[in-house]
Amino acid sequence: MPAKAILSGVHFMNGDEAIAEGAIAAGCRFFAAYPITPQSEIAERLAWRLPQIGGVFIQMEDEIAAIAAVLGASWGGMKAMTATSGPGFSLMMENLGLGVMTETPCVIVDVQRAAPSTGLPTLVGQGDMMQARWGSHGHYEIIALCPASPQEAFDLTVKAFALSERFRVPVLIMTDEVVGHMYERVEIPPEVPVAPRRKPRVPPEQFLPFQPDPDLVPPMACAGEGYRIHVTGLTHDERGYPDMSPEAHDRLVRRLVDKIRLFPQEYTFYEEVQLEDAEIAVVSYGISARVSLGGVELARRAGIRAGLFRLITAWPFPEEAVFRLAQRVKGIVVVEINLGQMSREVERAVRGRVPVHGVYHAGGRIHTPEEVFQGIEEVYRQCR
């Protein structure tokens, strides 16, 4: 009796393993990757688990090949995923763009480590956030989610597959080395709904592969299903035929962006902690958000009413929610393991209503609660 796909029950596992199980639970049956710390546990677990359930695990010759194989597998009808860290993430950028342009559902996990370059391979970082948003070339839109615990790593991976099928776009899991390697309780439900792939509703001779439904997303005909469509990274028209006109380009690129931007309610997730009466809000994500709770607590003990706004969706950035936050507090502190990336988005969303103070460091360790508290004090003084 082959092993079960969904390991329902309570587990003690790290974030990487939880991502692997989330993918399997979501119906992922194809994983291609290249070894890189701190992603190893994802690949190793899937190398062990996917063959048990008739899935495909393949270690490719580099990360470019890994993402290319994932795109191919998606067009072969499978839910497909790859996982990497900074250096590999950089190599995947061009094919991320191919995935966007050809509207290929897939999930890409970036277990961030201290960078740039080889940096601190085994130590935490959060410096790939802007690369996640703009790393490929051209103007486009993707969705990126940031888990702050192994449980959320499982849940958001399941969510990522659903969003990638719904919007026909690569969805990124932007986690980090600490969440990836920390062990916590992870509950896997008895069942996990497998997100459907939107299929054509007309026979091949009437089907226009890139003519969208009203929600701007076209049904997807995969290989071997009798639709015989042409899929190209070139700018293309509704038939999928290359079209080199600026008009076709504008129409296509706008649709690829609007199909996501017009439905924020479907992917905008954030968590508010103790913000009801807060004067100072800490905005953070991933492991940094966990530490920030310690800073909030120290502030509260020192008589400063602080709270946490935790980003779960990094991209598209929850602008409205942060703008509304700025109308409820006097100051904002952004805590992230880089020298200011998501803070730029916060500043843009806040539009100068309140001061925004960054608590940064370049990488290799997580913040201390005291550092966060000092940041809260700093901005508290500024806005008195």
Partner: protein, 89 residues
């Protein structure tokens, strides 16, 4: 979706069938004329709308319908058809 446009071709009667030439596809590379083993074809004097000289059958009686013109043509502009209507290709 993939309806094929209405194409008008020139067709020459040859002993075993027909030789078709779709002049507007031809890019005047001369492969068919050069490598026809029976010297059936020659470059026409007129141009197609792209300014290329398409081939034309000048020695129909020499044609044995070997189909090499069809095989060597890079532009799908020339092909043969056995008289019985089945493709001799």
């Amino acid at each position: 979706m993939n309806e094929t446009q209405e194409r008008v071709a020139k067709r020459w009667r040859v002993p075993k069938g027909y030789v078709y030439v779709l002049e507007e596809f031809c890019k005047g590379c001369g492969f068919c004329v050069e490598f026809c083993p029976r010297k059936v074809l020659a470059q026409a004097s007129h141009f197609n709308d792209k300014g290329y000289h398409p081939p034309e059958v000048v020695a129909p009686e020499a044609c044995v319908l070997c189909g090499f013109c069809e095989r060597i043509c890079p532009d799908f502009a020339i092909w043969v058809e056995e008289e019985g209507g089945s493709d001799a290709g």
